[in-house]
């Protein structure tokens, strides 16, 4: 099947939905795709129907935004994985939930492909019960299911706070939050945030909620190891200043560790959009103008895929891209208020970033104490020591020699650590398929003719 639209939006989270709704309401034909079975993305993840009936919607505005997009006439295609690009360089290749191929062409393409969690290995991270904070949030939001009964959250970044609050709401005992940095001390760097009262209130609200529940926040603290036989039963923490030295062991039945998010840019890079590697994060960031327009004039990159900034910024970016496309298609000028909103939100993001250790600093902190025996790549069973033995400053050579990062996750889980251990490029090449794709889908596509 071939879909031709004015605009194709890849990714049904806050940015993609906002862009799609605005574009369709102005009369353009718009299709939005998402690989998940429901629109909403990670932030507006939809609760399962029975969960919604009993406990309501954790983020009502997400449902409203989806309804708005549908009402505006957006063709919604959840359950669609965009896995590649035809040789014409513009036809997106997808598979639907049933495994049938779908080809899509848009005069403009909006990539709102979101982000994935930044993980980092530690001894015992492969034990059942060890997850990312995002997974715990997903379980809580869509299934109203606690990841465990007694949980420690660890890693770094503001995201640990709302996840802890979601777990508290489910009655989970949150034994503590181990934050690698020291962001929750009022220093000079934090003062600038006072100019963003609404966003600051949100963060302060989480901190207050955690304080009421007497959840300790251990700042400057990192995970040393997780222990357990069939599943995690204890986590041992260390001071970030001396990461090899145990300071505290906590009994848990779940441990959620994450270090923020990395933009998902495979499709943007496959489409030939120019990207730069951010020195502080090591992430690929598409080069765009304020409206999200990439180096390729028909491709816009918005939301977390354009650089991590949170849901508010994602929606503002989605709207800005929609207006830029409308200006091009219909000649309507972009409302000037929008540019100001974007700048304001971007400023807040920069301020929050400054509160937490950068990924480069995290690597300096965590890598030296990481034991050689720790599993680094879980798909291909490669240890830290095996990668260190191939550390020549050329991550691609190390990957070829050890197979690290070459399994089904294609380095999404281990890539940050593998690149840190091996040295060299911090971003793995974008390859077809973006995710493993059914061969039966490829056969159907071959029978149809790839671009016909």
């Amino acid at each position: 099947m071939i879909v031709e639209r004015d605009v194709v939006v890849v990714g049904g989270g806050p940015a993609g939905l906002t862009a799609a709704a605005r574009l369709a309401s102005a009369g353009l034909t718009v299709t939005i795709l998402d690989e998940q079975p429901e629109l909403g993305g990670q932030y507006y993840r939809r609760p399962a129907p029975e969960v919604a009936r009993r406990w309501g919607d954790h983020r009502r505005e997400g449902g409203e935004l989806i309804a708005e997009a549908r009402a505006a006439g957006v063709e919604c295609r959840p359950g669609h994985l965009v896995w590649g690009l035809a040789d014409d360089g513009r036809t997106l290749l997808a598979e639907d939930a049933a495994g049938s191929p779908v080809r899509l062409r848009g005069r403009a393409i909006v990539l709102a492909t979101g982000a994935y969690e930044r993980a980092f290995p530690f001894p015992g991270w492969q034990l059942p019960g060890v997850t990312t904070p995002g997974f715990a949030q997903h379980l809580a939001a869509s299934d109203h299911t606690p990841v465990g009964e007694r949980v420690v959250l660890a890693g770094s970044g503001p995201f640990l706070l709302p996840v802890a609050c979601s777990l508290l709401a489910l009655g989970v005992k949150v034994a503590g939050i181990a934050e690698a940095g020291t962001p929750y001390r009022l220093g000079r760097r934090a003062l600038g945030a006072l100019r963003h009262p609404a966003r600051l209130r949100e963060l302060a609200g989480y901190v207050a909620r955690l304080a009421r529940a007497r959840v300790p926040i251990w700042q400057g603290t990192v995970v040393l190891r997780a222990d357990g036989r069939d599943r995690v039963s204890a986590v041992t923490l260390a001071a970030a200043a001396r990461p090899g030295l145990a300071v505290r062991t906590v009994e848990v039945d779940a441990l959620c560790v994450g270090y923020g998010f990395r933009p998902q840019t495979d499709l943007a890079r496959m489409l030939g959009c120019e990207v730069v590697t951010d020195a502080a994060t090591g992430d690929a960031i598409p080069v765009t103008d304020a409206a999200g327009r990439s180096s390729r004039p028909d491709v816009y990159v918005v939301g977390e895929a354009a650089g991590i900034g949170g849901a508010h910024l994602a929606k503002a970016r989605g709207l800005a891209a929609a207006h830029a496309i409308l200006t091009r298609e219909t000649g309507h000028p972009t409302p000037p208020a929008e540019a100001r909103a974007l700048a304001r939100l971007g400023h807040f993001t920069a301020l929050t970033d400054a509160l937490y250790p950068s990924p480069a600093q995290l690597l300096d902190l965590l890598l030296p104490a990481l034991p050689d025996s720790t599993l680094a790549c879980r798909c291909e069973s490669v240890t830290v020591g095996e990668i260190r033995a191939e550390a020549t400053g050329d991550v691609n050579a190390a990957k070829a020699r050890t197979r690290a990062g070459m399994g089904p996750c294609q380095g999404r889980v281990c890539g940050f650590a593998v690149a840190g251990l091996a040295g060299g490029d911090t971003v793995f090449p974008a390859r077809v398929p973006v995710r493993p794709v059914r061969i039966s889908t490829l056969l159907e596509l071959a029978a149809e003719g790839e671009t016909a």
């Binding site: 040789d87 197979r403 077809v432 794709v437 059914r438 061969i439 490829l442 056969l443 029978a447 790839e450």
Partner: protein, 388 residues
């Protein structure tokens, strides 16, 4: 610095030659523009082709000469037997045999023809009709009309072979210098002077095994060789339970399939990549991906139920006549070249051949017709010499 031999290119041919020479007591220096084994030697599917290969990749203009190829394949096959013992490590070498299948009457005729050539070359193959082939390998699909079976076909992990040769060479004192692109090659009398990065080495023998850059390296020495590098692509499925222990190829179309030790199925057959990019990574072609995978499923229907994990492209140091290139450049004593398609299969043989040539000994197989003279289009300009 002085050396007995300078090898340009740390791919599988350079590595095999380095091990042969170092073991024989030569002082060997190997330069690579990047990491060793990164290009064709790291991106190849790792097949050991002993029975005749299909004569045309998709898009290949000139068919290769199977009858001439086969004695070389036989000689290479014999040498693979001892590779793991020689290198004192596992390279996941597997000699579990392979099928070459035919679907049309013409292809069946070709199978019979190649079978007689194989017999002449001392390669045992057996011709089976479609049902006999399916009885031997029930995974084969209904369109298979005939197949030849060769017990010597095999596989070795290309990501292990080149490093294993290099490590063994290093144990005998060979020096590998990666990330050192060769910038200048000049000759004064019997002495070659090779400049790579900060290094300058004087040597009586230069071996140009630079794969897709073979022509460029030769040109530094003022030698014009007509090479036609191309990029082809490979595909891997996710891991699956191990059910296919043989190599499966097609006599008339671009197809090779095998299951590697980890369980992934590798699907190749020389389909053209989207572009050849010698400065970075060559791009894959979706059209080739679909064509190659569809062909694989037609011959081995069980693949339909798997998922495709990744596709990648790599360069091939092809010659215009598709035949191997090996020998000394006429008029340039001590300048040896080796390359061409199927270099992975030929690596142990060409490694030994290059050592013999470097030592002034006769080669182990007849190579007079495979030399670089046939690719030299114009008289040498002797630029290299004038710089001395």
């Amino acid at each position: 610095m002085n050396a007995d031999v300078v090898i340009v290119g740390a791919g599988v041919l350079g590595a095999a030659a380095a091990w042969q020479l170092a073991r024989g007591g030569s002082r060997v220096v190997i330069f690579d523009r990047s990491a060793p084994g990164r290009e064709g030697s790291g991106t190849t599917a790792g097949n050991l082709h002993v029975q005749a290969v299909h004569t045309r990749r998709p898009g290949q203009e000139v068919p290769l000469d199977s009858a001439r190829f086969l004695p070389l394949q036989r000689a290479a096959s014999d040498r693979w037997e001892s590779v793991e013992d020689d290198l004192e490590t596992s390279v996941e070498l597997r000699r579990s045999g392979g099928f070459t299948i035919a679907e049309t009457p013409d292809q069946c005729q070709e199978l019979k023809e190649k079978h007689t050539w194989e017999a002449a070359a001392g390669i045992p193959t057996e011709v089976l009709d479609g049902d006999a082939a399916r009885a031997a390998l029930p995974l084969l699909g209904p369109t298979v009309a005939a197949a030849t079976w060769c017990e010597r076909d095999g596989y070795a992990n290309p990501l292990k072979v080149t490093p294993a040769y290099l490590a063994a060479a290093a144990r005998h004192g060979a020096e590998l210098v990666p990330y050192a692109p060769v910038r200048e090659i000049t000759r004064r009398g019997a002495t070659w002077r090779v400049t790579a990065g900060e290094h300058v080495v004087e040597t009586p023998v230069v071996i140009d095994v630079a794969g897709p850059w073979l022509g460029e390296i030769a040109a530094l020495a003022g030698i014009r060789l007509r090479m036609t590098p191309v990029a082809i692509q490979m595909h891997a499925t996710v891991r699956a339970p191990v059910t296919l222990s043989h190599l499966v190829q097609h006599i008339g179309e671009g197809l090779s399939v095998k299951q590697v030790t980890a369980g992934n199925l590798l699907i190749g057959g020389g389909w053209p990549a989207g572009s050849l990019n010698l400065a970075g990574r060559s791009a894959t072609s979706t059209r080739s991906l679909l064509g190659n995978v569809a062909l694989a499923v037609r011959v081995l229907p069980f693949i339909r139920d798997l998922r495709l994990l990744r596709a990648w492209a790599g360069p091939l140091a092809a010659t215009p006549d598709e035949m191997p290139l090996i020998g000394e450049v006429p008029g340039e004593p001590g300048f040896l070249v080796a390359g061409g398609t199927y270099a992975f299969t030929f690596a142990p043989l060409w490694g030994e051949t290059l050592r013999r040539l470097a030592e002034g000994a006769p080669p182990p197989v007849e190579i007079a017709d495979l030399g670089p003279d046939r690719l030299m289009t114009q008289p040498m300009t002797h630029e290299g010499r004038q710089r001395c």
